[in-house]
């Protein structure tokens, strides 16, 4: 169906102008999310998705339109007319890179029929199991299922189609003084063990209960996967984005050993644990590649525009629509190490085990100094043993410095998928870092 709509839009474009360049992305499917708090379902939603995005270039005059609505003939005609009207009054875009040429996309099919068919009752039963497993603690969170078909077509002859499912649980159990979190994402809803997650969240909440203050300062840390995904998200967007490099806002110097030699970071939509489709909003195939190999930056993330300016090829990281970010990682993998999470903790002389970062914001995009707080549990570790839970701490830390050569003590053997159908997917382990700058307690 999606491919048919894309073809229909291109037909309408050609009817208006045989010379027009055009590309179309069509997404159809269902997104549903069951949300609970105070141990009951308080928001429970589902939407049908019919999204058509069109970009046209008329002799270098470029404009984009999109439609969320029934893709009937009238709506598609308005979509095409709107793009032509806007392009007609736009000045020539001197950086228009042209359309993606025909190219095969990697063969991936991150799809599960049962997930696509998951019902509200399925999700409610999953929530009930989480709530029951928390053993009387107050619970809150969300359990979601998404099934999307995406089709791309352009007037240069590139066409691609893909589909994806994704099921995610992100939920907490709460004591009077602490929260414990459990997360799980997978292409298959059946992989989400909500009962086990409830037990895990409750265990973490209980172990984080009655935290006490810790003096701010520099500490070793073991950071769990959501923190690592947060770091890599900033690192890649601000450092390895083609636009940031072009405008000299990036710290990255290709070929120089800027990060710890234990770090290898890849884009790899073909990874069996990954989610998503194998092409981007411009139809460029998402071929796997190393971004950082052994601590050395090897590649910059590009869409067609930034690639053309840099004299290279797109890496398949274009986003839909008018976005100020240029490119973002889509299917990021931090290659895991060989150390179990418990052993990462045992490896700390005096440090802090951190579950989540929260509300992180970049203070300077070039040095990547970021401030944020800990959330959902932090523990003081001494001589490899968890000593006590500590209250949330604020940090102000350069993410580049934290991952600089010599600062990564060990990489976990665990791998967690943190995925979002819009914001990209991260497959990451836990990390033991040598130094983290905590600048205050959350209470002042």
């Amino acid at each position: 169906m999606s491919a048919g709509i894309a073809a229909r839009v291109l037909e309408l474009v050609r009817t208006r102008s045989a010379a027009a360049e055009a590309e179309v992305v069509v997404r159809t499917g269902t997104s549903a999310l069951t949300r609970f708090a105070n141990s009951f379902i308080h928001q429970n939603v589902a939407e049908e998705i019919d999204h058509v995005a069109l970009r046209v270039a008329l002799d270098g005059h470029v404009a984009a339109t999109s439609l969320d609505g029934a893709p009937d003939d009238g709506a598609l005609a308005r979509l095409v007319a709107g793009a032509f009207d806007a392009a007609a009054v736009s000045p020539v875009d001197p950086a228009w890179p042209g359309l993606a040429a025909p190219a095969a996309v990697p063969a991936v099919d991150h799809w599960d029929d049962a997930t696509a068919a998951a019902s509200p009752d399925d999700r409610a039963r999953g929530v009930a199991a989480f709530v029951a497993a928390a053993g009387g603690l107050v619970t809150a969170g969300a359990l979601s299922t998404v099934a999307l078909h995406t089709a791309f077509a352009n007037t240069a002859g590139q066409a691609a189609a893909g589909r994806m499912t994704l099921a995610s649980l992100d939920a907490i159990a709460r004591t009077a003084t602490s929260d414990g979190v459990a997360r799980s994402s997978s292409v298959a809803f059946a992989d989400i063990d909500t009962r086990a997650a409830g037990e895990r969240a409750a265990g973490k909440a209980r172990s984080a209960a009655d935290p006490t203050d810790l003096e701010p300062g520099r500490y070793e840390v073991v950071i769990e996967p959501s923190c690592v995904a947060n770091m890599l998200g900033f690192l890649l967007s601000y450092g390895f984005g083609g636009r940031a490099v072009e405008e000299e806002r990036s710290f990255v110097r290709i070929g120089e050993p800027q990060l710890d030699p234990s770090l290898t970071i890849r884009e790899d939509v073909t990874h069996p644990l990954m989610a998503g489709v194998a092409f981007d909003a411009e139809g460029t195939p998402r071929q796997p590649f190393d971004i950082v190999r052994g601590g050395v930056p090897r590649a910059i993330l590009h869409d067609r525009r930034t690639a053309a300016k840099a004299g290279t090829a797109s890496t398949g990281n274009a986003l839909l629509g008018a976005n100020p970010w240029g490119v973002v990682p889509a299917s990021l993998v931090l290659v895991p190490g060989a150390t179990a999470l418990d052993d990462l903790v045992r490896g700390m002389a005096r440090g802090i085990l951190v579950t989540d970062f929260w509300y992180t914001r970049v203070l300077d995009p070039r040095t990547l100094v970021v401030t944020g707080l800990t959330r959902n549990g932090a523990w003081l570790v001494e001589e490899g043993r968890v000593v006590r839970p500590v209250r949330n701490l604020r940090f102000t830390q350069s993410y580049v410095d934290a991952l600089a050569p010599g600062n990564v003590r060990a990489i976990g053997s665990d791998q967690s998928l943190l995925a979002d159908e819009d914001a990209g997917s991260f497959l990451v382990p836990s990390l033991h870092l040598g130094s983290w700058n905590f600048t205050g307690g959350a209470r002042g």
């Binding site: 019919d50 339109t65 969320d68 609505g69 000045p91 203070l363 410095d401 002042g444």
Partner: protein, 479 residues
């Protein structure tokens, strides 16, 4: 379209709902952006569909369909009821919605110059022009954007409400970024997010981007060589109006959202340090602090005629002379808390569930001018224009950065300071406010990018604000 909303409601009722409401919506938006003197993007979108809520027992279901046909609307109503029935598997306590008399009415926002009537090439010329000026004045990266939103929505409820609204919003902003030795500096105008309102294109003309392009580029360059903001455990801090809007949004607006206070956002956006048991007596700030949530302010970005539950817009007292007295609420949260329905529930489009959102949350003005505050400060720092913002999940501990600072010595504004930051604890911070800008300094800022909810929603909020002085603040936190 009103019939579509009604069809969805009737279908939900027929499928077993004891209450239902629906919004049929037809909305469109436009973004025009330029970068370094050249057009960067023209993007227009259109969204048409129906979203319907159904209540069975105390459990909600919501379904949305991107289709404006009666059959699709009815199917969405039935699906919402089915989802509500599934929710009853993990049901909450009994719920009766806070009463709101059903309204049959219409509301149209004020708009003197229709933003869609302004030729696209005029918008492009404006943005290309100001970004070129910023480049000519040394900006490494010069960016400027205009945004326009137009929403028509038809609301129907099973209680008899029938409401039509036509809301037009727009605004613009620009920034100059310069790259120095190992760091970047940025200046924005009118603020980091621009300036937006529920108004027509006259707003864009009033903020006059061209008159400010050269200045902000020059200031960004000057910041590169300015001294660092000192690290001080306690100093007097004066915040400009734009930063005060951010401060209000983050540390007051979100903290008084009743869904957060009740724990409904505990796993995601977070909770609040406020305890309902202390409503009406908790000291939130100094006696200078009086904050209202007022969706009736003409032209403000958080204004509307009726919220997305059909509650008429009305002002709500939030903090009165330093005492916490009110919350932002909807019909279900208000009923649980035992307060009147606050009329503060909105959704980001037909395909999102209505939830508690800020309206226009801001300060009533004080008595001083900014210059009087500076003159009254022996030793302090003036900061303005938000650059970074981070606050904990209880909305208690914050650390905010500004684009620009000035040293204040002996009651005079002195040299520029770069990378100014400050940190604090909300009630202590607001308790230390001893001077507040007067009516001439007071301005309503629009925030077009307030994120909340799962799936994510972007809200439009307004924030009346004025410069203010705070005593004994920690500044200059660095990594």
């Amino acid at each position: 379209m009103q019939d579509l909303a009604l069809a969805a409601v009737e279908a939900a009722l027929a499928a077993g709902a004891r209450y239902a409401d629906a919004r049929a919506m037809d909305s469109r938006s436009e973004v025009v952006a330029a970068r370094n003197g050249v057009l960067d993007a023209v993007h227009r979108d259109e969204r048409i569909g129906v979203g319907v809520r159904a209540l069975i027992g105390s459990s909600w279901g919501f379904a949305a369909v991107p289709d404006a046909s009666p059959a699709a609307a009815r199917a969405a109503g039935e699906r919402a009821a089915a989802i509500a029935r599934a929710s009853t598997l993990v049901a909450g306590p009994a719920l009766e919605l806070a009463p709101v008399p059903p309204v049959v009415g219409r509301w149209v926002s004020e708009c003197r110059e229709d933003p869609w009537s302004v030729p696209l090439d005029e918008k492009v010329a404006l943005l290309e022009g100001v970004t070129q000026v910023m480049r000519d004045h040394g900006a490494t990266t010069a960016e400027a954007t205009t945004r326009v939103w137009e929403t028509r929505k038809w609301f129907a409820s099973s209680e008899g409400a029938r409401i039509e609204q036509h809301i037009r919003e727009c605004g613009a902003g620009m920034s100059a970024t310069v790259v120095g030795d190992g760091e970047t500096q940025r200046r924005s105008y009118p603020g980091i997010r621009g300036q937006y309102g529920t108004r027509g294109w006259e707003l864009v003309r009033e903020i006059d981007l061209p008159a400010n392009a050269a200045r902000i580029a020059d200031e960004a360059r000057q910041l590169l060589t300015a001294p660092q903001c000192p690290s001080l455990d306690a100093t007097d801090l004066i915040l400009g109006g734009e930063q005060m809007a951010l401060q209000i949004h983050e540390s007051v607006g979100h903290a008084v959202e009743l869904d957060r206070i009740l724990g409904w956002e505990a796993a995601y956006a977070g909770t609040s340090w406020l305890d309902l048991a202390e409503l009406g007596r908790l000291k939130f700030g100094s006696p200078l602090m009086t904050i209202t949530a007022d969706a009736t302010l003409p032209g403000a970005l958080g204004s509307f005629g009726f919220d997305d539950e059909g509650t008429p817009a009305h002002p709500v007292d939030i903090v009165r002379e330093g005492i916490w007295v009110g919350v932002l609420s909807g019909r279900d949260t208000a009923a649980i808390a035992g307060v009147p329905a606050g009329g503060a529930v909105r959704a980001d489009g037909f395909n999102r569930i209505p939830m508690v959102r800020m309206t226009n949350v801001g300060l009533l003005p004080g008595e001083h001018t900014l210059e009087q505050m500076i003159a009254a400060t022996e030793d302090g720092i003036l900061m303005d224009t938000n650059r970074s913002w981070s606050i904990d999940d209880k909305r208690l501990n914050f650390q905010f950065g500004c684009e620009i600072g000035w040293e204040i010595k002996g009651g005079k504004r002195g040299r520029l300071l770069r990378n100014p930051t400050y940190t604090g604890i909300s009630p202590r911070f607001w308790g230390s406010m001893d001077m507040l800008g007067n009516r001439d300094e007071w301005r309503i800022w629009g925030t077009p990018n307030c994120g909340k909810g799962q799936p994510g929603q972007i809200g439009h909020t307004g924030h009346p604000a004025a410069p203010a002085r705070f005593r004994g603040m920690r500044v200059g936190v660095r990594g």
